[in-house]
Subunit: 356 residues, 2 copies
């Protein structure tokens, strides 16, 4: 498969540098390439609780694209679909965590749980307050003891991010995040698999078929279903989510898994409004590419019970996303890597403008 | 090809309704389906100059997605890759134009030129001040007497939009738009063609090849070139633009033509910063899907000479784009259609909150 890259080995680091270059000075990274790929806010105030998330790349804008005001403090990026190392996560934690502590928001995959968990242990040995939550919103595999973390992770980022921005303490934020995780449910549907850079595309889903309950790393869906259009697709997805919904209001998150066109995504939003679960949906995030799976032609729908607090936090302002306004480009800073990768000192310096 | 739609005939109207539903009340449409597909701002102040643009659908978020603060007042949407009718354009003009007048921003295609032009004539017969500009930024076909309008159209929308929002008069805005058109240049490159809904996908671009200078409606590129990665791709595109660049600073617009992943787009931005034309680029719009061609796996690069005025106008705030913040959904208004489609009166009422 042809892709706009130079080399699979440098795809993620070059893409991160491009992201930094186009972030108008809001973002920086630690000086630890190629092993340590950590994107941080430049305007970070260590008096607040830091939010660190991440995982394999290929889900953009998650996670580096959500570093900024009201969302993440740092994103630790692995290679495509590969967990970042313990060292990388530790570097991220050390770079942004002050006395207020740090919350790690981790999707429920073995590698991520292990590496973020070990990094948390090591950070605590440095005397830092570190809490960790595991997101497991995917309802596709009801019998799996450990459900996967997918697009519902964004609910956690957004709500914890708004709380951290407002100055809430670590216990409050961790409890809110845990509450969100308890309530968040997601499922995806796709018409085609994703193209992993450097690998041939798998031709798994036949004509007239769709996969329901797929994973965001190209994992096969729970089942192949007949595909007869957008209306039936939303109804099928809604039917899988409905048994997990409580009574009361919900917020929905309509996620583009990659290459679904905006026309299709808008149409799916319209069908969602006509679906049996619509009366319970009071607010929407998207439709937009939020937790993608490279170029997958699919979507996912996530739901979260909504109360006044959550509604306020979910609507709170966030750092600007790329859109039709111009921003200056080309300048970003490479901060010292606190775990000493390519640097000798374990400096713990905050990465911020005019930093000490 | 499988797509998330119900019926080709209703694809665009259902997608527009979905867009309205997810715009948090900022957008409405005229009551003229299926022939009149006009999206308007709900917060519009007719004391200001109205900006009306549009054309065939399939380029989302252009144009309906750019209706709002600091951009368009109304978007007149045709079917996929088909010009809207004269009636539809006239309805759009009449719905939003007050004494300050209206600027039509039209991409240089025969159907659009004709239909927007005739609608302008008819609107003038109603006593309205209407000016029209034709965007022809594509440099792919140097010998063509009429260059195509592609992603550089966004420069015109953004600069005219910021001026209109600030209360500039029609002559000033039209002159600024004309100046932008004179300076804007664009070219695209794609690794695959787009999938037109309901039609089989054309398999035109072979392995190891890319098309340079393609159109945004699936028109074949000016030539097929060897594709050897992102660096060479940007260098080739930059080399085509360079002879058309004057001296001095420029703003770049890096546009995702559809299904290029955010990883690839960020990497292309990084390569742009390493390209020979980089020293002249002082600001960037994107990378983002701005003027897409359905699901085309490609990008385009546009350039515009930059001065202080343009820099300020290009950085001016715009209405929020879909991102990670939640907004209430489900409510939007259907305004009366001023050309009387499905309505008996030619009412000329402004489509605004609490309107007369």
């Amino acid at each position: 498969m042809k892709q706009f890259m130079n080399d699979r080995e440098t795809l993620v680091t070059e893409a991160i540098d491009g992201l930094l270059r186009t972030a108008g000075g809001r973002l920086a990274r630690l000086d630890g390439y190629p092993h340590i790929k950590v994107v941080v806010r430049t305007d970070w105030d260590r008096a607040k609780v830091a939010l660190v998330s991440g995982g394999g790349s290929g889900h953009e804008p998650s996670h580096a694209g959500f570093v900024g005001q009201g969302m993440l403090t740092a994103a630790v990026c692995g290679d495509v679909f590969a967990s970042p190392s313990v060292d990388a996560v530790l570097a991220g934690i050390l770079a942004v965590t002050g006395k207020a502590g740090c919350l790690l928001i981790v999707k429920n995959y073995t590698g991520d749980r292990l590496n973020f968990g070990l990094a948390a242990e090591r950070a605590r040995a440095f005397g830092l307050k570190v809490a960790m939550v595991i997101v497991d919103d995917d309802v596709a595999l009801p019998d799996l003891p450990q459900a996967r973390g997918v697009a519902g992770t964004l609910f956690v980022h957004k709500i914890a991010g708004a709380l951290a921005e407002a100055g809430a303490d670590l216990d409050t934020i961790a409890a809110a995040a845990q509450g969100v995780i308890k309530g968040a449910i997601s499922i995806g549907m796709s018409l085609d698999t994703c193209t992993v850079p450097g690998s041939p595309k798998e031709d798994r889903i036949g004509q007239g078929k769709a996969e329901l309950g797929l994973g965001i790393h190209g994992e096969a869906g729970v089942e192949q279903v007949d595909f007869s259009g957008a209306r039936a697709a939303i109804q099928m997805v809604a039917a899988r989510l409905a048994p997990h919904m409580g009574k009361g209001d919900h917020v929905a998150l309509l996620n583009n898994l990659g290459s679904t066109t905006p026309l299709e995504m808008s149409l799916l939003a319209e069908e969602l409004a006509r679906s049996p679960i619509a009366p319970q949906i009071k607010a929407l995030i998207g439709p937009a590419p939020l937790m993608t799976s490279l170029d997958m032609h699919g979507f996912s729908l996530s739901l979260l019970p909504l109360d006044e607090d959550r509604a306020r936090l979910l609507a709170a302002p966030v750092a600007p996303m790329p859109g039709p306004a111009a921003c200056p480009w080309g300048r970003w800073r490479c901060g010292p890597c606190p775990t000493g990768w390519r640097r000798s000192s374990l400096c713990l310096r905050p990465i911020r403008r005019g930093g000490r």
